[in-house]
Symmetry: C2
Subunit: 279 residues, 2 copies
């Protein structure tokens, strides 16, 4: 498919890394970037994450494909401003929640949207966090694709295939439930773990002992509060439910330790070991 121009809205880790990959995969396409942060625009140009920066809504709307790599509340807001976009244009949002984004885009441009969630990232943010091949060999979930135009879906699939991603299809309600368990609750847990250690009087002596396990478990506690507030807000019910399920398991563990049920505790840990046969 001939794509003349792609605009990436949001030049942080996700958008910036996408720019790096698209510039290689689509050498004949103009990769444009938009960001509301002036410094991000300059950094993105200096780092050659995009070919050029554009500054107006009209310029964004003139692109064949528009990737939205911004917080999930900003995705909903910008979608409302894209009313009147050409029926040939494709909007691909990359938000970590899908139900509200899929439902709240104005009906007249719903066909333009392919609601996607690439299951990749790092704990870092901003254009300087952009890395090569962030997307390769990762899974991307496409949601409610029956609501996307045929052409739009084809374009999105073509791009994700070129990025060497594994495409999974799912309705947005299931996605949001699953994402709460596999991504959103783990972020809440990591933030809580970091804070529980920082709350200790002698936290510096404690942290000095950190090995690989703790470093892994607290890595995503470095994630952007603004981005995660919006995710927790949009997926509030599912996030609360998945945190509750996790807490129930942890309470089980506590109770077994408290009541010295060591055989039961071993069985429970042995069950957890099974995860890695599936993962």
């Amino acid at each position: 498919m001939n794509i003349e121009s792609i605009c990436i809205v949001g030049l942080g880790l996700m958008g910036g890394s996408l720019g790096l990959s698209l510039k290689k995969l689509y050498p004949d396409t103009t990769i444009c970037g938009y960001d509301h942060n002036e410094k991000h625009k300059i950094d993105a140009l200096n780092l050659k994450l995009v070919d050029k920066i554009i500054n107006s809504k009209d310029d964004i709307m003139a692109c064949d494909v528009i990737f939205l790599c911004i917080p999930v509340d900003a995705i909903i807001a910008i979608n409302k401003e894209l009313i009147g976009i050409s029926k040939n244009s494709t909007i691909i949002d990359m938000g970590s929640t899908k139900e509200q984004i899929s439902n709240e885009i104005p009906a007249s441009i719903r066909v333009n949207l392919v609601a996607s969630h690439p299951m990749t990232g790092t704990e870092n943010s901003g254009p300087l966090a952009a890395i090569n091949d962030l997307y390769g060999n990762k899974t991307v979930v496409l949601c409610d694709t029956e609501k996307s135009g045929i052409k739009q879906l084809q374009i999105a699939e073509e791009i994700f295939n070129k990025l060497n991603m594994n495409i999974v299809y799912m309705d947005s309600i299931s996605h949001d439930k699953h994402a709460a368990f596999i991504s959103h609750a783990p972020h809440a847990i990591s933030f809580a773990l970091a804070n529980s250690v920082l709350n200790q009087e002698d936290h510096k002596s404690i942290i000095a002992l950190a090995g690989g396990g703790f470093k892994d478990m607290s890595r995503i506690a470095q994630s952007s509060p603004a981005m995660w507030e919006a995710i927790f807000r949009q997926n509030r019910t599912n996030v609360l439910e998945s945190i509750e399920c996790f807490k129930n398991e942890l309470t089980k563990c506590q109770d077994m330790i408290k009541e010295e049920k060591w055989e039961e505790l071993k069985d429970w840990m042995g069950k957890a070991n099974n995860l890695h046969d599936i993962l």
Copy 2:
């Protein structure tokens, strides 16, 4: 210092990796291995983790330095059997708990013991999990060193320095409190996270979406139940306390989401971000 022979008791991940390093660092020393598991002995020899396998308590006690790389309950048990060991011998245990090990070794051989905890490892176990340089650039905690003989402490320090480890000194009570926060509770959390996902009816679809965050958070849920049961048992009070502190933080997070206190939630996540300035 001239060390003629070193015995590694327990040829799993920790002991096996130690063998690999010691064979390089001490080419003129005989590195002996002992394991109660016959297959581990054969694997360790085949993988050249040690120079030779020894099979009797007398052979173990005849070595200049004895490393105990076995579960923490087994360390306590074997220490009781080492009564009568030469006053020139050094026992270095590598257990993840320190208070009981430091206190329960028979008084007559307490000077022989250097109670240590290397803050390193992987989620894997057994001789096949042994890797090169598991110890380099990692922290090792030495506890209650005033109870160790001068010679024994010097030997332990020399070996850990040769392994290129960062030595930290601490009383065993503080160690066990700190280790509960930085290592033991995170393991309980990881096991609970794995089980909370496995409990879901559609866990396979959920796990198919796992990105780097979940993989990191659940990595140590693959750890050995037998090893961790003994750690949770020996450090029961501290582990329960640190899990409780963590749960309080997570409940705070839940409450902020439930009550839609988004600004407060952002501040709380921002606080967690600070961890990485220290880590």
